[in-house]
Subunit: 420 residues, 2 copies
């Protein structure tokens, strides 16, 4: 096997552990210098490949690469850039192959969600068609936890832990003040299409009556009357009500709650968020004092409270991707498989990209309680192992010590630049 270089890119929304996958890729590649030359990382994801902005990771020290394991966000830059279909934009794919050729890239590692699995597959197919040999391996990543085959997606466990911990802590706050102050607290979390992240809020509850008292999933049509009744019941029974609401919560007709028809100071329609919409509803109907929080990027960047299981798995899929490539695999993704038996175990298998690309996995209905406002034991059994363990980053001056990379670019070899 001739020695060839590798290309690694981060794609789409970043997570608390995507760099742990990068760490797995680079450290494993460094163990196989006989077969893998340099690992180039795309500056800002696949855009870096198109524009030939390749970060030479060999210029980063072993300790910097090791530190990626505890660093959130995309260290090499990520992007929201979906390649068009081959039919619509062949030039883009040809450019990629051209760049890969110029830099003798024989391994392509693409770290992202469903869209990037699709891109990865297409590149593999086109390379074959063009007679350019490349091993294209997709590395799963998404806080949305919506990829098929894999039992869970690296990135999800940590956002799940963040949401569970935050729900628990904020609810203790509300509980201690509710007799004379705030009675309803709403935490809005990510998940436009699937309620996995909102469901994780349910892990805050350990006993009957514990918060959260209501979870709103995109999968369950929002019913205002039922919702308000449940809020009132909870306040009467527990003194307060904690609500974890998915940003994708929607009415039966598909209208998002976030699209509440609010108008800002300039008279523009405002996507106000689910939380303030619910808060206004509660205030209007029940008169309770409320507070709400919108976690936004805090939830997916919260490496300080990452799940140790998630970190381990994120690293493992990066490592496995390199090992699969070295074994001559192509158009596959390392998928996490849960062992049978009561104790949680997991291993990694190969999943063919044809079966991964463009398939979205939703929450099963039996993960949601009959009334639509909570999670079942089945959901709890599934979710709980994913948030186990703490994997704290090192601190310096009271804040996490996240490394700064040099990001030295490989000299460009192509004459033509490429406009994206």
């Amino acid at each position: 096997m001739a020695k060839r270089n590798a290309f690694y890119a981060q794609s789409g929304g970043v997570t608390a552990v995507i760099n742990a996958s990068a760490c797995g890729v680079i450290e494993t590649a460094r163990l196989h210098k006989k077969h893998i030359g340099k690992v180039y990382a795309g500056h800002n994801g696949i855009i870096g490949a198109l524009t030939e902005e390749l970060i030479d990771t060999s210029k980063e020290s072993a300790s910097t690469i090791a530190a990626l394991r505890h660093t959130p966000s995309g260290a090499f830059g990520s992007c929201r850039y979906k390649l068009k279909s081959i039919e619509k934009n062949l030039a883009e794919y040809e450019r990629l192959i051209e760049v890969f050729k110029a830099h003798n890239i024989g391994y392509f590692f693409y770290n992202g969600g469903g869209d990037s699995a699709d891109t990865c597959l297409k590149i593999s197919q086109l390379a074959e068609r063009m007679g350019y040999p490349i091993q294209a391996i997709h590395i799963p990543k998404t806080v949305d936890n919506d990829l098929p085959i894999t039992d869970n997606c690296p990135g999800f466990g940590s956002v799940a832990k963040y949401v569970a911990v935050s729900t628990k802590e904020a609810s203790l706050d509300v509980a201690s003040m509710c007799a004379s102050s705030t009675k309803v607290f709403i935490l809005e979390v990510m998940g436009r299409h699937a309620g996995w992240i909102a469901a994780a809020g349910g892990l805050a509850a350990q006993n009957e009556g514990d918060a959260p008292h209501i979870i709103l999933f995109p999968e369950i049509a929002f019913n205002k009357e039922k919702f308000l009744k449940k809020v009132q019941q909870s306040v009467k029974k527990n003194g307060y009500c904690t609500i974890v609401a998915s940003e994708g919560a929607q009415y039966k007709d598909g209208t998002f709650l976030a699209d509440a028809g609010n108008v800002d100071a300039f008279g523009h329609k405002q996507l106000g968020g689910v939380a303030p919409t619910l808060a206004a509803m509660v205030k209007e109907a029940l008169g309770y004092k409320y507070h709400w929080a919108l976690a936004d990027y805090l939830q997916r960047s919260a490496r300080h409270i990452a799940s140790a299981t998630d970190v381990e798995q994120a690293y493992a899929v990066g490592k496995a991707a390199v090992e699969m490539a070295l074994a001559g695999k192509n158009a596959v993704m390392p998928a996490i498989i849960r062992g049978k038996g009561k104790r949680y175990t997991w291993s990694i298998v190969e999943a063919p990209l044809e079966k991964v690309a463009n398939v979205e996995r939703m929450m099963p209905r039996n993960f949601i309680t009959r009334d639509g406002f909570g999670i079942t034991e089945k959901a709890r059994d599934y979710l709980s192992p994913l948030i186990q363990g703490e994997d704290y980053p090192p601190y310096k001056n009271g804040v996490p010590d996240y490394p700064t990379l040099k990001k030295v670019r490989a000299p460009k070899k192509l004459k033509k630049s490429f406009r994206i």
Copy 2:
């Protein structure tokens, strides 16, 4: 010295470490059983004293009391209830003394901010006037960090650490995607009157150009043009712009930015928050894609990322309060004093309540940069020691293991109930 009981109550907005003060009080009292009998805690703060809802802390095990050190929020319940002046509502004060008498309470520990310092002082004065001997000690607590004399307030260090860590992590997220996605990120934090919490966001920056690029303080009149110019400069220079905005940010005329004239779906005026107001402004003027987060209660309940220094100090003021009471002190507060010299040291002194009550400490102007958008080295030197060290709670099932108290009530001794 005859053996007498103690009463402890939590007051106002709770924090990540107010229970560490409770722990300091109860554990220290248990070491002095010769002089202090039971420690009763007010159920929901001072309301518990008025209604004779006294939690008998002797019914809680040593391990539960020890666990208070790592438990956020008010374990015994807190309240927003300000006693009126003695002239206006003597009956309330007389009731308190009556309850104290009935339960042989000789020590009154009141754990709160400026208002509770005032109440504590009044109770001490009235008790003296009524010939009922009591040692009234105020224990400082406030995330707002606005008490005088004490160098800082327990509760602040942890919210400061949360804001610094969150600002750093979310900014890494934005930085890694800004080339093709979000360019402006806004984190809204607490602090209606003083910018201490927003200032703490500045600790996320370790190097020139690091986020946050803009901090908005209530102390500095908001200037829209200057603000937008600064946002644009930051995006041009750094590729993105992180803004930490105090909820109390306001225009020159005192109008809060949060009061932006938004109207909700029901046509009601909505206090939309500073972050969405700023986001709309940025979008309108500069067209940048934005995201924003509202930390709300998450910030003050985030015991999972508490500052070790803060936890230690919160415990220490609780312990010192008991020791001061045993030394016969009255109408005082244990205050934290910073040692001179480069290395951060602190000790505890007595502060007379006359000098604490009703005095608000604002951020000095020289803590804010000349342009009004950042913190100075002076501020950094002051703030940095307060967020040092991590003091992680124990975890169970992936979430912090916070104890549930029994909250056994002491039998009531008074015939009359009291309506609050």
